[in-house]
Protein backbone atom coordinates (compact mmCIF):
# COMPACT_ATOMS: atom_id res chain seq x y z
CA UNK A 1 0.00 0.00 0.00
CA UNK A 2 1.01 3.59 -0.57
CA UNK A 3 1.63 6.20 2.09
CA UNK A 4 -1.23 8.71 2.30
CA UNK A 5 -1.38 12.17 3.81
CA UNK A 6 -4.46 14.09 4.90
CA UNK A 7 -5.74 17.05 6.90
CA UNK A 8 -8.27 17.44 9.65
CA UNK A 9 -10.99 19.21 7.70
CA UNK A 10 -11.93 22.73 8.68
CA UNK A 11 -14.61 24.83 6.95
CA UNK A 12 -12.29 27.82 7.12
CA UNK A 13 -9.96 26.40 4.48
CA UNK A 14 -12.68 24.91 2.26
CA UNK A 15 -12.20 27.51 -0.48
CA UNK A 16 -8.42 27.08 -0.53
CA UNK A 17 -8.78 23.33 -0.63
CA UNK A 18 -11.24 23.54 -3.52
CA UNK A 19 -8.56 25.31 -5.55
CA UNK A 20 -5.86 22.80 -4.55
CA UNK A 21 -7.58 19.42 -4.11
CA UNK A 22 -4.35 17.62 -5.03
CA UNK A 23 -2.67 19.00 -1.89
CA UNK A 24 -4.14 16.20 0.25
CA UNK A 25 -4.92 12.54 -0.31
CA UNK A 26 -7.88 12.47 2.06
CA UNK A 27 -9.71 14.48 4.71
CA UNK A 28 -10.45 13.62 8.30
CA UNK A 29 -13.87 14.82 9.38
CA UNK A 30 -15.14 15.21 12.92
CA UNK A 31 -18.72 14.02 12.42
CA UNK A 32 -19.91 15.82 15.56
CA UNK A 33 -19.48 19.10 13.67
CA UNK A 34 -21.66 17.99 10.77
CA UNK A 35 -24.61 16.18 12.26
CA UNK A 36 -26.82 18.57 10.26
CA UNK A 37 -26.48 17.10 6.79
CA UNK A 38 -26.85 20.48 5.08
CA UNK A 39 -23.43 21.43 6.39
CA UNK A 40 -21.81 18.83 4.16
CA UNK A 41 -22.93 20.33 0.90
CA UNK A 42 -19.69 22.28 0.60
CA UNK A 43 -17.38 19.40 1.49
CA UNK A 44 -14.72 18.82 -1.15
CA UNK A 45 -15.03 15.71 -3.25
CA UNK A 46 -12.17 13.83 -1.58
CA UNK A 47 -11.96 10.50 0.25
CA UNK A 48 -12.87 10.98 3.91
CA UNK A 49 -12.32 9.29 7.24
CA UNK A 50 -14.28 9.95 10.43
CA UNK A 51 -12.86 10.96 13.80
CA UNK A 52 -15.65 11.18 16.37
CA UNK A 53 -15.30 12.66 19.85
CA UNK A 54 -18.03 11.29 22.03
CA UNK A 55 -18.40 7.51 21.77
CA UNK A 56 -16.84 7.35 25.24
CA UNK A 57 -15.36 3.91 24.67
CA UNK A 58 -13.67 4.07 28.09
CA UNK A 59 -16.72 4.73 30.24
CA UNK A 60 -18.52 2.10 32.23
CA UNK A 61 -21.87 2.54 30.50
CA UNK A 62 -23.30 1.35 27.18
CA UNK A 63 -22.82 3.35 23.99
CA UNK A 64 -25.14 6.33 23.67
CA UNK A 65 -27.55 5.06 20.98
CA UNK A 66 -28.59 8.54 19.81
CA UNK A 67 -24.98 9.60 19.32
CA UNK A 68 -24.03 6.38 17.55
CA UNK A 69 -27.12 6.68 15.32
CA UNK A 70 -26.04 10.20 14.37
CA UNK A 71 -22.54 9.03 13.43
CA UNK A 72 -23.96 6.10 11.45
CA UNK A 73 -26.40 8.40 9.61
CA UNK A 74 -23.56 10.67 8.60
CA UNK A 75 -21.39 7.70 7.62
CA UNK A 76 -24.09 6.55 5.18
CA UNK A 77 -23.86 9.98 3.58
CA UNK A 78 -20.05 10.43 3.57
CA UNK A 79 -18.95 6.79 3.19
CA UNK A 80 -15.73 7.17 5.22
CA UNK A 81 -12.89 4.74 4.50
CA UNK A 82 -12.51 4.11 8.21
CA UNK A 83 -13.54 5.73 11.49
CA UNK A 84 -11.94 6.40 14.84
CA UNK A 85 -12.51 7.74 18.35
CA UNK A 86 -10.50 7.92 21.56
CA UNK A 87 -9.40 5.65 24.37
CA UNK A 88 -11.13 7.95 26.82
CA UNK A 89 -14.14 8.69 28.94
CA UNK A 90 -16.11 11.57 27.41
CA UNK A 91 -19.56 10.89 28.78
CA UNK A 92 -20.93 9.87 32.18
CA UNK A 93 -24.58 9.04 32.78
CA UNK A 94 -25.27 10.18 29.23
CA UNK A 95 -23.88 13.68 29.78
CA UNK A 96 -20.90 14.88 27.77
CA UNK A 97 -17.95 15.96 29.88
CA UNK A 98 -16.76 18.45 27.28
CA UNK A 99 -13.26 17.03 27.45
CA UNK A 100 -11.62 13.69 26.85
CA UNK A 101 -10.65 12.23 30.21
CA UNK A 102 -8.25 9.35 30.76
CA UNK A 103 -9.22 5.77 31.53
CA UNK A 104 -7.56 3.49 34.06
CA UNK A 105 -5.80 0.80 32.08
CA UNK A 106 -7.13 -2.32 33.77
CA UNK A 107 -7.53 -5.88 32.57
CA UNK A 108 -11.03 -5.92 34.04
CA UNK A 109 -12.08 -3.17 31.60
CA UNK A 110 -11.03 -4.95 28.40
CA UNK A 111 -14.19 -7.00 27.91
CA UNK A 112 -16.49 -4.01 28.37
CA UNK A 113 -14.51 -1.70 26.08
CA UNK A 114 -13.99 -4.40 23.44
CA UNK A 115 -17.73 -5.05 23.40
CA UNK A 116 -18.36 -1.41 22.61
CA UNK A 117 -15.72 -1.44 19.88
CA UNK A 118 -17.32 -4.50 18.28
CA UNK A 119 -20.73 -2.82 18.36
CA UNK A 120 -19.39 0.36 16.77
CA UNK A 121 -17.65 -1.57 14.00
CA UNK A 122 -20.78 -3.58 13.27
CA UNK A 123 -22.92 -0.44 13.09
CA UNK A 124 -20.50 1.59 10.98
CA UNK A 125 -19.45 -1.23 8.68
CA UNK A 126 -15.93 0.16 8.22
CA UNK A 127 -12.66 -0.46 10.07
CA UNK A 128 -12.55 1.34 13.42
CA UNK A 129 -9.46 2.69 15.18
CA UNK A 130 -8.97 3.76 18.78
CA UNK A 131 -6.60 6.61 19.62
CA UNK A 132 -4.21 7.24 22.50
CA UNK A 133 -5.18 10.60 24.07
CA UNK A 134 -3.19 13.38 25.72
CA UNK A 135 -3.85 13.28 29.46
CA UNK A 136 -2.74 15.67 32.17
CA UNK A 137 -3.57 13.40 35.11
CA UNK A 138 -2.43 9.79 35.36
CA UNK A 139 -4.95 7.64 37.20
CA UNK A 140 -3.39 5.33 39.77
CA UNK A 141 -4.63 1.77 40.09
CA UNK A 142 -3.81 0.61 36.55
CA UNK A 143 -2.68 -2.99 36.14
CA UNK A 144 -1.83 -2.65 32.43
CA UNK A 145 0.23 -0.17 30.49
CA UNK A 146 -1.61 1.77 27.79
CA UNK A 147 0.21 -0.26 25.14
CA UNK A 148 -0.87 -3.54 26.78
CA UNK A 149 -4.46 -2.36 27.04
CA UNK A 150 -4.49 -1.41 23.34
CA UNK A 151 -2.98 -4.79 22.40
CA UNK A 152 -5.78 -6.53 24.28
CA UNK A 153 -8.47 -4.34 22.76
CA UNK A 154 -7.16 -5.05 19.27
CA UNK A 155 -7.11 -8.79 19.96
CA UNK A 156 -10.54 -8.87 21.59
CA UNK A 157 -12.43 -6.62 19.18
CA UNK A 158 -10.58 -6.69 15.88
CA UNK A 159 -10.26 -2.90 15.94
CA UNK A 160 -7.18 -1.01 14.81
CA UNK A 161 -5.35 1.82 16.52
CA UNK A 162 -4.79 5.46 15.72
CA UNK A 163 -1.35 6.47 16.92
CA UNK A 164 -1.33 10.15 17.90
CA UNK A 165 2.32 11.12 18.01
CA UNK A 166 1.69 14.56 19.47
CA UNK A 167 -0.37 13.11 22.31
CA UNK A 168 2.49 10.70 22.91
CA UNK A 169 5.07 13.52 22.92
CA UNK A 170 2.90 15.62 25.28
CA UNK A 171 2.35 12.72 27.69
CA UNK A 172 6.03 11.79 27.61
CA UNK A 173 6.98 15.37 28.52
CA UNK A 174 4.35 15.77 31.24
CA UNK A 175 4.71 12.35 32.83
CA UNK A 176 8.39 11.88 32.10
CA UNK A 177 8.62 8.64 30.18
CA UNK A 178 10.50 7.55 27.07
CA UNK A 179 8.25 7.87 23.99
CA UNK A 180 10.35 5.37 22.05
CA UNK A 181 9.88 2.76 24.78
CA UNK A 182 6.14 3.48 24.52
CA UNK A 183 6.25 2.88 20.76
CA UNK A 184 8.14 -0.37 21.19
CA UNK A 185 5.27 -1.59 23.35
CA UNK A 186 2.54 -0.17 21.10
CA UNK A 187 0.49 -2.51 18.84
CA UNK A 188 2.20 -1.18 15.70
CA UNK A 189 0.81 -4.06 13.60
CA UNK A 190 -2.66 -2.56 14.09
CA UNK A 191 -1.84 1.10 13.35
CA UNK A 192 -4.32 2.33 10.73
CA UNK A 193 -3.63 6.04 11.02
CA UNK A 194 -1.14 8.44 12.57
CA UNK A 195 -1.92 11.92 13.91
CA UNK A 196 0.62 14.71 13.98
CA UNK A 197 -0.04 18.10 15.58
CA UNK A 198 1.56 20.91 17.55
CA UNK A 199 1.88 21.53 21.25
CA UNK A 200 2.83 24.42 23.53
CA UNK A 201 3.90 24.98 27.10
CA UNK A 202 1.31 26.08 29.61
CA UNK A 203 2.71 26.70 33.04
CA UNK A 204 4.74 23.71 34.11
CA UNK A 205 3.16 21.39 31.57
CA UNK A 206 2.78 20.92 27.82
CA UNK A 207 -0.59 20.82 26.10
CA UNK A 208 -1.85 19.26 22.89
CA UNK A 209 -2.81 22.61 21.39
CA UNK A 210 -3.76 21.92 17.75
CA UNK A 211 -2.67 25.54 17.39
CA UNK A 212 1.08 25.34 16.76
CA UNK A 213 3.45 23.94 14.16
CA UNK A 214 4.41 20.29 14.59
CA UNK A 215 7.34 19.98 17.00
CA UNK A 216 10.71 18.38 16.30
CA UNK A 217 10.09 15.41 18.59
CA UNK A 218 6.87 14.58 16.70
CA UNK A 219 8.76 14.63 13.38
CA UNK A 220 11.36 12.28 14.88
CA UNK A 221 8.64 9.98 16.20
CA UNK A 222 6.99 10.00 12.76
CA UNK A 223 10.25 8.83 11.15
CA UNK A 224 10.59 6.16 13.84
CA UNK A 225 7.00 4.92 13.47
CA UNK A 226 7.07 5.02 9.66
CA UNK A 227 10.24 2.93 9.63
CA UNK A 228 8.35 0.22 11.51
CA UNK A 229 5.34 0.21 9.18
CA UNK A 230 4.98 -0.87 5.53
CA UNK A 231 2.77 2.14 4.83
CA UNK A 232 1.21 4.98 6.80
CA UNK A 233 -1.80 7.24 6.67
CA UNK A 234 -0.88 10.50 8.33
CA UNK A 235 -3.29 13.27 9.32
CA UNK A 236 -2.18 16.76 10.36
CA UNK A 237 -4.50 18.13 13.06
CA UNK A 238 -4.65 21.92 13.24
CA UNK A 239 -7.96 23.55 14.14
CA UNK A 240 -6.93 26.41 16.44
CA UNK A 241 -5.12 29.60 15.35
CA UNK A 242 -5.43 28.32 11.81
CA UNK A 243 -2.52 29.51 9.62
CA UNK A 244 -2.79 30.20 5.86
CA UNK A 245 -3.65 27.02 3.96
CA UNK A 246 -0.25 27.05 2.26
CA UNK A 247 1.42 26.57 5.63
CA UNK A 248 -0.68 23.46 6.34
CA UNK A 249 0.26 22.09 2.92
CA UNK A 250 3.93 22.78 3.62
CA UNK A 251 3.73 20.89 6.92
CA UNK A 252 2.02 18.00 5.21
CA UNK A 253 4.75 18.01 2.53
CA UNK A 254 7.34 17.83 5.27
CA UNK A 255 5.51 14.83 6.74
CA UNK A 256 5.81 13.17 3.29
CA UNK A 257 9.53 13.92 3.27
CA UNK A 258 9.97 12.41 6.75
CA UNK A 259 8.22 9.21 5.70
CA UNK A 260 9.96 8.98 2.32
CA UNK A 261 13.31 9.39 4.09
CA UNK A 262 12.82 6.07 5.89
CA UNK A 263 11.40 4.10 2.95
Amino acid sequence: MTDRFGLLYDDRFARDLASRPDAVDFLEIIPDRYFALDDLAALPDLPTVFHSLDLSIGSDEPLDPAYLDAVVRLARHCKPLWASDHLAVSKIDGTSLGQLTPVRCRAASVKRMAGKLVEVQERLGVPFLIENIAYYVRLPGADLSEGELLHRLVAASGCGVLLDLNNLAVNAANHRFDPYAYLREFPMHAVGEIHIAGSRRRGAMVIDSHADPVGELVWELLRFAASALPSVRVVLERDQDLPPFGELVRELSFARECVEAVR
Binding site: D60, I92, D93, L97, Q99, R104, V137, R138, L139, G141
Partner: protein, 234 residues
Protein backbone atom coordinates in the same frame (compact mmCIF):
# COMPACT_ATOMS: atom_id res chain seq x y z
CA UNK B 1 -17.35 -0.45 43.21
CA UNK B 2 -18.00 0.45 39.59
CA UNK B 3 -15.52 2.37 37.53
CA UNK B 4 -18.37 4.78 36.78
CA UNK B 5 -18.59 5.95 40.35
CA UNK B 6 -14.89 6.72 40.42
CA UNK B 7 -15.26 8.60 37.13
CA UNK B 8 -18.16 10.60 38.60
CA UNK B 9 -15.99 11.53 41.57
CA UNK B 10 -13.12 12.46 39.25
CA UNK B 11 -15.49 14.63 37.24
CA UNK B 12 -16.40 16.41 40.49
CA UNK B 13 -12.68 17.02 41.05
CA UNK B 14 -12.02 18.19 37.47
CA UNK B 15 -14.86 20.71 37.61
CA UNK B 16 -14.17 22.03 41.12
CA UNK B 17 -10.45 21.60 41.66
CA UNK B 18 -9.84 25.30 42.25
CA UNK B 19 -12.21 25.52 45.20
CA UNK B 20 -11.87 22.02 46.63
CA UNK B 21 -8.42 22.58 48.14
CA UNK B 22 -6.69 19.66 49.81
CA UNK B 23 -8.00 16.11 49.66
CA UNK B 24 -10.38 14.98 52.38
CA UNK B 25 -12.61 11.89 52.21
CA UNK B 26 -15.64 13.99 53.23
CA UNK B 27 -15.45 15.74 49.85
CA UNK B 28 -16.64 12.50 48.29
CA UNK B 29 -19.25 11.44 50.84
CA UNK B 30 -22.01 11.47 48.23
CA UNK B 31 -20.18 8.96 46.02
CA UNK B 32 -20.24 5.20 46.65
CA UNK B 33 -16.48 4.69 46.62
CA UNK B 34 -14.25 1.94 47.93
CA UNK B 35 -11.16 2.69 49.98
CA UNK B 36 -8.98 2.04 46.94
CA UNK B 37 -11.06 4.53 44.93
CA UNK B 38 -10.57 7.11 47.68
CA UNK B 39 -6.86 6.42 47.56
CA UNK B 40 -6.89 7.14 43.81
CA UNK B 41 -8.57 10.49 44.49
CA UNK B 42 -6.15 11.27 47.31
CA UNK B 43 -3.14 10.50 45.07
CA UNK B 44 -4.49 12.56 42.20
CA UNK B 45 -5.42 15.57 44.36
CA UNK B 46 -2.21 15.48 46.36
CA UNK B 47 0.40 14.58 43.76
CA UNK B 48 -1.09 15.80 40.47
CA UNK B 49 -2.66 19.16 41.31
CA UNK B 50 -0.93 20.87 38.37
CA UNK B 51 -2.45 18.34 36.01
CA UNK B 52 -5.90 18.73 37.53
CA UNK B 53 -5.71 22.51 37.27
CA UNK B 54 -4.60 22.24 33.65
CA UNK B 55 -7.40 19.82 32.81
CA UNK B 56 -9.94 22.20 34.39
CA UNK B 57 -8.44 25.21 32.57
CA UNK B 58 -8.58 23.42 29.22
CA UNK B 59 -12.19 22.47 29.85
CA UNK B 60 -13.02 26.10 30.65
CA UNK B 61 -11.11 27.33 27.56
CA UNK B 62 -12.97 24.90 25.35
CA UNK B 63 -16.33 25.99 26.74
CA UNK B 64 -15.40 29.65 26.18
CA UNK B 65 -14.35 28.95 22.58
CA UNK B 66 -17.53 27.07 21.81
CA UNK B 67 -19.78 29.75 23.28
CA UNK B 68 -17.93 32.67 21.71
CA UNK B 69 -17.85 30.87 18.36
CA UNK B 70 -21.63 30.47 18.46
CA UNK B 71 -22.18 34.22 19.13
CA UNK B 72 -20.44 36.06 16.26
CA UNK B 73 -22.45 39.29 16.55
CA UNK B 74 -21.86 39.51 20.31
CA UNK B 75 -18.16 38.80 19.81
CA UNK B 76 -18.04 41.62 17.30
CA UNK B 77 -20.32 44.23 18.91
CA UNK B 78 -19.98 43.45 22.61
CA UNK B 79 -16.61 41.73 22.96
CA UNK B 80 -15.63 43.18 26.34
CA UNK B 81 -19.02 42.39 27.91
CA UNK B 82 -19.00 38.87 26.43
CA UNK B 83 -15.52 38.24 27.83
CA UNK B 84 -16.60 39.48 31.27
CA UNK B 85 -19.67 37.24 31.21
CA UNK B 86 -17.60 34.24 30.14
CA UNK B 87 -15.17 34.91 33.00
CA UNK B 88 -18.02 34.50 35.46
CA UNK B 89 -19.66 31.51 33.75
CA UNK B 90 -18.92 28.38 35.72
CA UNK B 91 -18.01 25.03 34.22
CA UNK B 92 -20.52 22.43 35.25
CA UNK B 93 -19.87 18.80 36.11
CA UNK B 94 -20.66 17.55 32.65
CA UNK B 95 -21.30 20.24 30.10
CA UNK B 96 -23.98 18.41 28.15
CA UNK B 97 -24.51 19.48 24.58
CA UNK B 98 -23.70 22.91 23.19
CA UNK B 99 -27.39 23.80 22.88
CA UNK B 100 -27.83 23.25 26.62
CA UNK B 101 -24.67 25.16 27.45
CA UNK B 102 -25.81 28.12 25.36
CA UNK B 103 -29.22 28.08 27.05
CA UNK B 104 -27.48 28.22 30.44
CA UNK B 105 -25.28 31.02 29.17
CA UNK B 106 -28.35 32.93 27.96
CA UNK B 107 -29.80 32.58 31.47
CA UNK B 108 -26.49 33.80 32.88
CA UNK B 109 -26.67 36.89 30.62
CA UNK B 110 -30.32 37.32 31.54
CA UNK B 111 -29.45 37.46 35.24
CA UNK B 112 -26.83 40.14 34.57
CA UNK B 113 -29.36 41.99 32.43
CA UNK B 114 -31.97 41.95 35.18
CA UNK B 115 -29.54 43.74 37.47
CA UNK B 116 -28.13 46.30 35.04
CA UNK B 117 -29.63 46.08 31.55
CA UNK B 118 -27.50 47.24 28.65
CA UNK B 119 -27.88 46.74 24.91
CA UNK B 120 -24.74 44.58 24.96
CA UNK B 121 -26.22 42.21 27.53
CA UNK B 122 -29.53 42.12 25.69
CA UNK B 123 -27.75 41.22 22.44
CA UNK B 124 -25.71 38.49 24.10
CA UNK B 125 -28.77 36.99 25.73
CA UNK B 126 -30.76 37.08 22.47
CA UNK B 127 -27.98 35.58 20.39
CA UNK B 128 -27.30 32.82 22.93
CA UNK B 129 -30.99 31.88 22.99
CA UNK B 130 -31.15 31.98 19.20
CA UNK B 131 -28.06 29.75 18.91
CA UNK B 132 -29.31 27.30 21.53
CA UNK B 133 -32.59 26.86 19.68
CA UNK B 134 -30.78 26.54 16.33
CA UNK B 135 -28.53 23.80 17.72
CA UNK B 136 -31.26 21.62 19.16
CA UNK B 137 -30.73 18.10 17.88
CA UNK B 138 -33.60 16.80 15.75
CA UNK B 139 -34.47 14.25 18.44
CA UNK B 140 -34.83 16.84 21.23
CA UNK B 141 -38.11 18.28 22.44
CA UNK B 142 -38.47 21.54 20.59
CA UNK B 143 -38.11 24.64 22.69
CA UNK B 144 -38.92 28.28 22.21
CA UNK B 145 -38.12 31.56 23.92
CA UNK B 146 -39.78 34.89 24.54
CA UNK B 147 -37.34 37.80 24.64
CA UNK B 148 -38.01 41.39 25.63
CA UNK B 149 -35.42 43.96 24.72
CA UNK B 150 -35.12 47.73 24.81
CA UNK B 151 -33.22 47.55 21.50
CA UNK B 152 -33.84 45.71 18.26
CA UNK B 153 -31.20 43.12 19.05
CA UNK B 154 -32.48 40.81 16.33
CA UNK B 155 -31.55 43.43 13.72
CA UNK B 156 -28.22 43.98 15.49
CA UNK B 157 -27.47 40.26 15.46
CA UNK B 158 -28.45 39.93 11.79
CA UNK B 159 -26.58 42.97 10.50
CA UNK B 160 -23.75 43.01 13.04
CA UNK B 161 -24.23 46.73 13.71
CA UNK B 162 -26.12 48.62 16.39
CA UNK B 163 -29.41 50.32 15.58
CA UNK B 164 -29.45 54.12 15.78
CA UNK B 165 -31.93 54.32 18.63
CA UNK B 166 -33.60 52.23 21.30
CA UNK B 167 -36.77 50.46 20.13
CA UNK B 168 -38.56 48.21 22.62
CA UNK B 169 -39.09 44.81 21.00
CA UNK B 170 -40.76 41.56 21.96
CA UNK B 171 -39.62 38.47 20.11
CA UNK B 172 -40.82 34.90 19.95
CA UNK B 173 -38.09 32.45 18.85
CA UNK B 174 -38.72 28.85 17.89
CA UNK B 175 -37.53 26.14 15.56
CA UNK B 176 -40.23 24.72 13.34
CA UNK B 177 -39.76 21.05 12.43
CA UNK B 178 -36.50 20.69 10.51
CA UNK B 179 -36.31 24.41 9.80
CA UNK B 180 -34.07 27.24 10.81
CA UNK B 181 -34.95 29.40 13.80
CA UNK B 182 -37.98 31.60 13.26
CA UNK B 183 -37.93 34.99 14.99
CA UNK B 184 -41.25 36.80 15.16
CA UNK B 185 -41.89 40.28 16.50
CA UNK B 186 -44.95 39.95 18.74
CA UNK B 187 -47.07 42.39 20.70
CA UNK B 188 -46.37 42.85 24.42
CA UNK B 189 -49.73 41.24 25.22
CA UNK B 190 -49.05 38.17 23.10
CA UNK B 191 -45.57 37.92 24.65
CA UNK B 192 -47.24 37.72 28.07
CA UNK B 193 -49.42 34.84 26.88
CA UNK B 194 -46.49 33.03 25.29
CA UNK B 195 -44.63 33.22 28.57
CA UNK B 196 -47.55 31.41 30.18
CA UNK B 197 -47.06 28.59 27.66
CA UNK B 198 -43.40 28.52 28.64
CA UNK B 199 -44.49 28.02 32.25
CA UNK B 200 -46.34 24.88 31.16
CA UNK B 201 -49.90 26.11 30.90
CA UNK B 202 -52.15 24.55 28.26
CA UNK B 203 -53.88 26.59 25.57
CA UNK B 204 -57.19 26.53 27.48
CA UNK B 205 -55.47 27.63 30.69
CA UNK B 206 -53.72 30.47 28.89
CA UNK B 207 -56.96 31.67 27.30
CA UNK B 208 -58.77 31.50 30.66
CA UNK B 209 -56.40 34.14 32.02
CA UNK B 210 -58.05 36.66 29.69
CA UNK B 211 -61.08 38.57 30.93
CA UNK B 212 -63.32 39.00 27.91
CA UNK B 213 -64.58 36.73 25.18
CA UNK B 214 -63.27 39.20 22.60
CA UNK B 215 -59.74 39.02 24.06
CA UNK B 216 -59.91 35.24 24.14
CA UNK B 217 -61.02 35.05 20.50
CA UNK B 218 -58.25 37.40 19.36
CA UNK B 219 -55.64 35.50 21.37
CA UNK B 220 -56.89 32.14 20.09
CA UNK B 221 -56.53 33.39 16.51
CA UNK B 222 -52.98 34.61 17.15
CA UNK B 223 -52.02 31.35 18.80
CA UNK B 224 -53.49 29.37 15.92
CA UNK B 225 -51.37 31.37 13.47
CA UNK B 226 -48.25 30.56 15.49
CA UNK B 227 -49.14 26.87 15.59
CA UNK B 228 -49.62 26.90 11.81
CA UNK B 229 -46.17 28.50 11.52
CA UNK B 230 -44.77 25.53 13.41
CA UNK B 231 -44.40 27.07 16.86
CA UNK B 232 -44.04 24.39 19.56
CA UNK B 233 -46.98 25.52 21.70
CA UNK B 234 -49.89 23.40 22.78
Amino acid sequence: MSESELQRALLHVYANVERLGAYAPELFARFALSNSDLQVLCDVMTLQRDGLLLHAALLRDKQRRLIAGALPASASLAEARLTALLDLFAVREGVGDLAGTLRRFADHAGEACATAPTRELELIRFEALHASIALQPPSARRTSAVVRSAYDVHAAASSCCWPDAATPCWYFLFQAHGDRVTVLHVSPRLADLLELFQQGLSRDEVLRTLETERERAAAAASIEKLVCAGAPIA
